[in-house]
Amino acid sequence: MSAGLRATVRATVTEADTAQAMGSGDVPVLGTPRLLALAEAACCAAVAPHLALGLTSVGTSAALEHRQASPLGAEIVVEAELTEVDGGRLVFGFIARVADTSDDIVIGAGTLERVVVNRTRFLARAAAPASRPA
């Protein structure tokens, strides 16, 4: 796996995507957590075809700017690109834009990090945090 892998996800802002619905605010426009989820989905899509069987990636860090509100019904496109590979650590840049317009209207942008893990072992660790101090 090397830098340069890309993927795009597209979404329409529905009631369920609003800050009001997600509990992250009280206005009926695209919620920031939903934007982050779309960006993470794009990152996953960029690398998933290149991961060996049994491996997956999980999010570890996010820096996100949400620059512009998107009303109900808005169509948005989020593109992620793998920019750095450091062992199992993956760094992505993403940019979210209004879809289907010749104007370059940026809704949000940021940097996300994920790590590659063995799915089974990861879930086993996640399920057994009992020995861990609070």
Binding site: T60, R89, V115, P133
Partner: protein, 70 residues
């Protein structure tokens, strides 16, 4: 004598070796967990594991002693 120290802040996920074990280069002493990843701590200097300073569930800081091999 070789001291094995943590290279990062981490949780001790699994302790694989036991005090008194003869360990060879490449053997796993403990498995740390940091940023959702498993990070095995491997033996670099073969010998006898005379001290194991961590237990499962411990949190280690960068530089903390994990084990002593003589």
């Amino acid at each position: 004598m070789a001291e094995v120290r943590a290279e990062m802040v981490a949780n001790v996920w699994q302790v694989v070796a036991s005090e008194g074990d003869s360990v060879a280069e490449g053997d796993t002493l403990v498995i740390l967990e940091s940023m959702k990843m498993e990070i095995p701590v491997l033996v670099e200097d073969p010998g006898t594991l005379t001290k194991l300073a961590v237990a499962e569930g411990d949190v280690v800081q960068e530089g903390d002693l994990i084990a002593v091999i003589e």
